[in-house]
Symmetry: C2
Subunit: 553 residues, 2 copies
């Protein structure tokens, strides 16, 4: 690399991540087996699917005696799925942990995600190579990919490739799906006595891989802080210019943890939570009314500005909108040709409207023409509406505009509604990891090497007690099967790690619910500012409000 | 305010901005008069327009003897135009400077920009009130506005309002237009002996208010660092996912300093500079070719991803596009009704195309239908095309797509072109000011109080030598008239402060030009990371590359 690096990059390379006390004599820890953990639901079915890796004990680590292990160990690591800040530090921690177990241990990075493992694309990770990636964002060190490891053929190929390099352990860094597949792989290898351990690490900025033993997935802290910085900056701009409502869409297709965390941090006027919309079976019009209400109340106080946070997946959680999409998919599959033959947009819209159920037609009628055409013309290769392509933030602006116009006629609203829309996603996935994520990821990786040293397979690296200083973090391992249940996927019952959605009776959501009426009307913005790597601990080292609230802090 | 503040906000309130050595005994400085400065161009005309405030000497300040001035002084301050990080610190510096001159001095903040001065809307700024705004972003302390102070009636109203409060000086914090008006106001008051001093402070994130004596406007440092953080994060994401080209539009209607600074900081693959496009009279197709070239060359190396930076005002600098807009404005003024009566988009597009000149019709033909309709249907109250509403980043994506499709047929290109578009503007205007902007703004305000203490009017607060540590900064004042020339505005010759555009023979642009062929093809990204307020000086205190290069560093 002949390219220069920024001053901050240089400074961060020298950062020494903090580790839990368990590792003070290296990764060769003292391991205590705790209670055996069955799957939290569908226990019998999970046990049947995973006879070799179910009902295994919780592991907890304490400092070892500082001795090396007898023989070096060769390990494979892959990154799987979307980027999250700190991935490189998991690898750095794993590398340093393996070297502390035995200095001749080797770490191989398989490239481009799971497919690297089956296609045998790899590099050996050396200390020199690793140096420039320590404490950096991105997954560019070895790349990532979305191939799913789930077939016997893939498992066999991976095994052969590992055997050729003397690899006896695979560390998979990924989200719920990738760790589900890690569990399948672990079971397969253990059942056939392949001599290859599989360990998972919890990654995802969305924050939806967590449970009783995994307090948070890595990357959520950093990404939500980057978005909160930007939201705070925009709030301050809104409050200075007093001219615009900013509708901000935030990453999070399935879970709204990011929107919730950002809302709690910044006191945005409105924070929509997909899980609430679904649970309360809100109609599209109800969602629009929540926004219009805040706008109208603030306008009555002379404040024609504000900030609203919208989770990326929102419209897929609105029952009437979901039904509309389903009907459109059916309708266009049957009558797509007749539809396509129509000349004008108006004709097309009428054609559709006349063929929908009354309730779907009502929703369709409220949509601006641009969205009507997007929904019906811009379809994927299977002919389905491309829901993820819908610019929800712009759609909501249009729907709110219509509602406010109606309220104006009724005398219920008398303000100005000028808008700016934003989508924050790519800005946060590869940010330099915060001190928390740098420490947490390094600890997860180091901890994975300890799991490997115990010879146990089918575990997820677990570092807990995260609202305390790193020294007090608890290192250990949780059986992957303990996080699984059965879910319907593509018409089949499958064992999967359950996605952790926002819980409406959880402390973070309750905190939002308690404050939101006030925040909707008043200007109570909090400006978090950019992530700090230096300076006072309360500025540089504290993790998310979500975790603090979940832990009752 | 019963709202909570973030940990970083709290920490920043305690930050003590650094001051030049001239102020070590307070704002009552020793003042040296230097050479008399005439307008840098159109000298005679400027002298004729500003008989009382032309050809005044440069002022330089050195430490005073620490004595107070004889009588307290009452001062007005206004914020004018768009937000820039650090505005609150100018006010804080001014306040502290005035108190150091005489503890009974008073500072009045006129609210909502220049109109506050004429409508007599003000608050007295007290130490308590000010405390929570120190080192914060935004203009929410007293608000801002875009009213232009230029009529005698306005000047008289402002005078009466000032007199009523015993105000003998007005500090105007604004960009080139606001400081042009500050100069008119200074001349008017001096000519009639009104006893009111006017002082300007150079503000704008765009960085286009600078000259031989003003090294940079405040806010440019912070805003360009916020955008560079985000661009770096997106580069790292692009380089990890290896899937998308990101087209990023950046604020800067007139000048491309922000795009240039961000390009230099992050080594984006393509950085377009409006001033170059205009100077070289590039056709739309040439601009598109620059982008397509980089994309095709990278694709040949297997890299189907990249980052391109696009200044907000770009299309207004492309001669053939500018001509097209002018023709559309004429055409729709004459035949708008006939056009509006047409039913389909195709008919509309043909109607327009048949009535354009050959060269404009050729440009129009390359545009996607959506942009054609936006250009011809979405017009302002005067019937003109709303150029600022055009999503240039999306337009360029479409045009590049077409070009790449043509190249694919010719066998010149064989890659994938998937895109994401972004617009960064509101994210940076109200960010917490960097240490540099916090120090610079505080110094500019403190310095303004020193100018007031000399009794001189018609000056801009000038703090120079900014690439050195703050202690070595040179404090002083520059006659506003020295920055003026005559320009054609709305059919009239008017005296205005010249906007500083990117100079193609300047060091910053030459640095880009020297590297851009390499950056266009290779992946040489630099990741600046978030603004740091603590930590090593090379991370936390250094200002822009633009300034360093201009100063030959």
């Amino acid at each position: 690399m002949d390219c220069t690096v920024s001053a901050l990059q240089k400074a961060r390379m020298a950062y020494a991540p903090k580790l839990p006390a368990a590792f003070k004599a290296g990764a060769n820890v003292a391991c205590t087996e705790g209670e055996k953990l069955a799957a939290f639901a569908d226990t019998e079915k999970i046990t049947a699917k995973f006879p070799s890796t179910s009902n295994m004990p919780l592991l907890t680590f304490a400092p070892g005696n500082g001795e090396k292990i007898a023989k070096p160990v060769n390990v494979a690591v892959i990154l799987s799925g979307g980027q999250a800040p700190g991935g490189h530090n998991v690898i750095a921690g794993l590398f340093d942990g393996l070297k502390s177990l035995h200095p001749e241990s080797k770490l191989y990075g398989f490239k481009g995600g799971p497919s690297g493992l089956t296609d045998n694309k790899y590099i050996e990770i050396t200390a020199d190579f690793l140096a420039s990636y320590r404490n950096t964002g991105g997954f560019d060190m070895i790349g990532s990919g979305r191939t799913k490891l789930e077939t016997t053929e893939q498992f066999e190929k991976a095994e052969a490739n590992c055997k050729a390099l003397g690899i006896t352990a695979i560390v998979i860094i990924g989200g719920d799906d990738s760790n589900t597949n890690a569990c399948l792989l672990a079971e397969y290898y253990k059942a056939k006595n392949a001599g290859i351990i599989v360990v998972g690490c919890p990654k995802t900025i969305d924050g939806d891989l967590k449970n009783a033993y995994i307090e948070t997935s890595f990357g959520f802290d950093t990404a939500s802080k980057v978005y909160s910085e930007l939201i705070g900056n925009i709030e301050r701009d809104a409050n200075s210019a007093k001219k615009y409502w900013h509708f901000i869409k935030l990453m999070g297709r399935s879970a709204s943890h990011i929107a919730l965390e950002c809302g709690l941090r910044t006191h945005a006027n409105v924070t929509l939570i997909s899980e609430e919309v679904e649970a309360k079976k809100m109609a599209t019009d109800e969602v629009v009314t929540i926004l219009a209400d805040s706008i109208a109340k603030r306008a009555a106080n002379g404040d024609n500005f504000g900030v609203a946070l919208i989770p990326e997946g929102l419209i897929e959680f609105i029952p009437d909108f979901k039904s509309l999409i389903a009907e459109l998919n059916d309708l266009l599959a049957k009558e797509g040709e007749a539809y396509a033959a129509l000349a004008s947009n108006d004709e097309k819209a009428s054609f559709i409207a006349s063929r929908l159920s009354a309730s779907s037609a009502a929703v369709f009628a409220t949509l601006p023409m641009e969205i009507k055409m997007q929904l019906t013309m811009d379809r994927d290769p299977h002919g389905n509406v491309q829901v993820s392509r819908i610019e929800t933030e712009k759609l909501l602006v249009e729907l709110v505009k219509n509602k406010l116009a109606a309220w104006k006629k009724e005398g219920r609203y008398n303000g100005k509604f000028s808008t700016q829309t934003h989508f924050f996603g790519y800005e946060g996935r590869c940010s330099m990891p915060s001190n928390f994520d740098a420490d947490y990821c390094y600890s997860l990786g180091y901890n994975a090497s300890s799991i490997i040293s115990t010879g146990k397979t089918g575990y997820m690296s677990s570092v807990r007690n995260l609202t305390e200083p790193a020294e007090k973090w608890i290192a250990g391992a949780i059986p992957l099967t303990a996080m699984m249940n059965m879910e319907r996927r593509h018409g089949e019952d499958k064992p999967v790690i359950r996605k952790a959605l926002v819980e409406l009776d959880g402390a973070p959501f309750r905190e939002l619910a308690k404050n939101r009426e006030k925040w909707a009307v008043e200007t109570c913005y909090v400006y978090p500012g950019p992530i700090q790597f230096f300076g006072p601990a309360e500025v540089a080292d504290i993790t998310t409000m979500t975790l603090a609230l979940e832990k009752g802090k």
